[in-house]
């Protein structure tokens, strides 16, 4: 579609040049975009028009194979390792739930997870996290960024780093979607020194992202044409001003119409009733279904926060409710991804800011506990049925294979093929993608 319907003859030569340049800018073949595209080859150049490509099943399959994804299920408030991945039945600290055998001989998990017990072949359990900080804010910062010590600069969270590593320059879909409908522990997280390009599309109140549909007062034609007019001005401004922030402004505007057309990814009404029934009627289930739709369309990182795990009172009732849901939804998500051939390219991780005390308090609650807790990884790059680390009989401390946040992050990076030794540079200062000393846990990687 042209910028103007009037004949080009009516335009001055320079205006035509500028408008053509503006169109190029809008179409994502700016000089920078073009150079990047040619550097990585035709397959990825094509991916800049990914939505079109998704129309073609062959290309879509090809893309699926190349693209890795991460779905982080963030258990805000801190889920109990004793009622999930590291049960201690029969101990005073063990609580009332039993442990059950899983599909991997010798590995037991809480009876609250019967469905996951049948999917150990897609699961790696880490039982030996010691992240030291048991304060919500400080601990969340550590487990969001993988960095135990404040770096004095705003550091990117896991989603931003993965968006940066796996996102494509002119992607039509968001790189990083974060669903956080609960108020407990809600922190936007963010891209820190990596910049706003990798900041999450943050969904709190609504399931469909804000501002992704055109105002009714504006026709689609005018919406697009005024964008061309903007690009015409932008292109003039860029002359003699090679500035990355200015470029980011333009690329953000270039991505708008792509993102708008991908808004339907958030609409679960587009799924069959049978598929929706599989995930179940809860909001967390629906969000995981959205996550699958996003991953399928090429979004590298999706975070879903399920909150209210902070069970200072009524720990067992809380976990009966929340783990039952987690078990069902996680199992469904794994099956669904596997059915679509996406599981081998998608890593699912579940953890929060910490675990919960073995000690049961007088409200039958468990309190904050960061010195011996668990996380789980599923799908891409992990060794199914593996368990890393060990806590003592009462779950009070790690006695084997202690894991820090940096090790957990290195493991996630390694599982999806990102070099965990990579360094970013902030000015003169090198900031490693994995915090100093972080090593992947080889034993649970495929």
């Amino acid at each position: 579609m042209g910028l103007f319907s009037s004949p080009p003859a009516a335009l001055g030569a320079s205006a035509i040049r500028n408008i053509e340049a503006a169109k190029n800018l809008r179409d994502g073949v700016s000089r920078r975009g073009f150079l990047q595209a040619s550097a990585v080859g035709a397959a990825f150049a094509a991916s800049m028009h990914q939505l079109d490509i998704l129309q073609s099943p062959v290309f879509a399959e090809e893309l699926k194979k190349q693209q890795k994804h991460v779905i982080l299920i963030w258990l805000a408030g801190g889920a109990s390792q004793l009622e999930t991945w590291d049960p201690k039945p029969g101990r005073a600290t063990g609580g009332p739930f039993a442990a059950i055998q899983t599909s991997t001989p010798g590995v037991s998990i809480s009876e609250l997870m019967p469905k996951m017990a049948q999917r150990m072949q897609h699961t790696a359990i880490i039982r030996s996290l010691n992240t030291k900080n048991a304060d919500h804010g400080g601990a969340a910062k550590i487990l969001e960024t993988g960095r135990a010590v404040d770096q004095g600069i705003p550091c990117p969270d896991l989603g931003a780093m993965i968006a940066h590593e796996l996102g494509r320059a002119d992607s039509q879909v968001p790189d990083y979607v974060s669903m956080y409908s609960s108020t407990e522990g809600r922190r936007q997280g963010g891209s820190g020194f990596l910049g706003g390009r990798y900041a999450p599309m943050f969904l709190t109140e609504q399931m469909i992202p804000e501002n992704t549909s055109r105002l009714e007062t504006l026709s689609d034609l005018d919406h697009s044409a005024r964008g061309d007019l903007r690009a015409f001005l932008a292109n003039k401004f860029r002359s003699g001003r090679p500035d990355l922030s200015v470029d980011s402004h333009n690329s953000a505007y270039q991505r708008v119409r792509g993102i708008m057309s991908s808004a339907s990814l958030f609409d679960i009404e587009q799924e069959s009733l049978a598929m929706r029934a599989k995930y179940g009627p809860t909001q967390f289930g629906e969000q995981c279904l959205v996550a699958r739709r996003l991953v399928e369309a090429g979004v590298p990182f999706v975070k879903i926060a399920r909150a209210w795990w902070d069970s200072h009172g009524q720990n067992f009732e809380t976990h009966l409710e929340l783990v039952t849901e987690l078990d069902h939804v996680l199992a469904t998500l794994i099956d669904d991804l596997a059915d679509r051939g996406l599981l081998e390219h998608t890593l699912i991780a579940t953890f929060g800011e910490f675990g919960r005390t073995p000690q049961i308090n007088s409200s039958l609650g468990r309190d904050h506990f960061a010195s011996a807790w668990s996380a789980s990884l599923h799908g891409a790059g992990i060794l199914g049925g593996s368990v890393h680390g060990k806590t003592d009989a009462d779950g009070q401390k790690v006695i084997e294979g202690e894991v820090r946040a940096s090790d957990l992050f290195a493991t996630i990076f390694q599982a999806i093929g990102i070099d965990y030794r990579k360094e970013y540079h902030v000015g003169a200062r090198p900031v490693p993608i994995t915090d100093f000393g972080g090593q992947p846990i080889r034993g649970i990687l495929a």
Binding site: F4, S5, S6, A10, L11, G12, A15, N18, I19, G137, V149, D150, G152, P154, F193, G195, G196, R197, Y198, A199, M201, F202, E210, N211, T212, S213, R214, L218, D222, H223, R226, G227, L229, R230, F232, L233, A234, K236, F237, G240, R241, P242, D243, L244, S245, V246, S248, H249, A252, Y253, R255, V256, I259, M260, V426, G427, A428, R429, P430, F436
Partner: protein
Amino acid sequence: MSQTLRFMIAAVYGLLLFSGKVGYAAEMPAVDLPIPTAIDRLLADSHERMRIVPARRADDRTLLRRTTLDLAGRIPTPQEIVVYEQDSASERQSRLVDRLLAATDYAWHLRNELDAMLLSGGNSPQEWKEYLLQTSRANQPWDETFKDLITPNQEDQSKRGASHFLKSRVNDLDDLTNDTSSLLFGVSINCAKCHDHPLVEDWKQDHYYGLQAFFARTYQTKSQRLAEKPPAELTFKTTAGVEKPSRLMFLTGATVEEPADPRTDDQKKADLEEVRLQREKDDQAPPVEPAFNPRAELVRLALQPENRTFMARSIINRTWARLMGRGLVHPVDQMHSGNPSNHPELIDWLERDFIGHGFDVKRLIRGIVLSDAYARSSQWLYAEPQPSPDDFAVALVRPLTPNQLASSLLVGTSSPDRFQKAFDSGGWDELREQLEKQAAGTAKLFEYPGENFQVSVTEALLFNNAQRIENDYLRISQDRLAGYMQESLRPHDSGEQAGDGEIDAMIKTAFDVVFARHAQEDELQAFRHYFQDRGDRSPAAVQQMLWAMITSPEFRFNY
């Protein structure tokens, strides 16, 4: 990372940073030179040495927009453009600067900038913003502000707001230490928490824990007062695992000896009980000021002639970076021997001048914006490769801050008549305050630009599709520019087409108001065609044209 590797990295970075800078010592200009002269003389020396011909001076309209954004926190109004152009060309900039420094806008904008710098802005407490506004209005000397931030007088209504600098960080001793060090002394020493700083020889763990010791007793009572816990032995663990006592130590290594603790065990117990009560109950009498207050000692040390270079250079560098787009030391929180200034003599000269003139921030700002360096064009249209940002040979393009953007959107989409009355007969102060309040809500939607700032797609989506953009800025109404533009073509409502001349006049007005510059020929053409193609929906066409302008980078950036 092994120690050896760390050492090697330090060595390599050292070399990189020093290359091309060492071996030359410029002559320090005289003490009584005007600031702009000193800046330009030292930069000219440096450019000559490096064979750089700096960019030409920006045109007047660009400079007007740039200076107004920097001193008033918004783009200029049409009336200000007229006044500016009435001045003789040689005096335009200095008269503009003096007008803006005297205007009510100056304090609003400086307040917002200090708020963003010291408390990350956004949702900071009203009391804090009031404090910053007052100090900005009064041009309070920076050493006094520094003192207020570290040892706020909570009894003084007008100073109490300063306590939020500490209060917002009081639950995290590392934040207190790092942020004080980085924001007020220009050095980020947090790397030294767990090991001696890998890149900087200056900072050892002793420094980190030494600085931390000044804040280690600070706590907040249930009634929201800052207070000091009784003395207690503090220790830290070295990398070698040795437990060492932390002493009260400033960044220079200067220490303070604490007087011996004369309290009996019973008194100590009672003091601890007092702290517990203060923390748990909000009906306690204000806690007693301790005879020995470590934070007061920090202020005393930091302001001593041999130590005050840290707080002075930090605010100078941050002010420079804010106005020039890059620090004289970059990054602004890495002002240490391993990361020397790009213009060491200049920052030395500015430091001497700043301290010699009573830590006068306004004077410093005035000096910078009157320099030729500030006035350079941001466009590099020459055959030679573009110089490094460290050379200040071409103006850097700077993203608007959230408040600058939100206020400018209001000004730039207002009918040119809107400000006429305030301009003619006074009342600007009220209008400016109203503008500030109106802008505050929108400002929260934008990200404060840090280093390597990138505009998010969320912002682009907001401008594209949010109803509030349509309502707030593109409304066809009497007080908005869109209404004014539409009105200018009203004689043709009856169906007769507006002529090219009338359309061009309308477009020129829009460029004047939104961009504070004249529309160029190709722009006139493009916009005229855009408008004429939408003859059946000219109000919509006006809105779309305006939209394209306020979403263009020319509007989004200070250039």
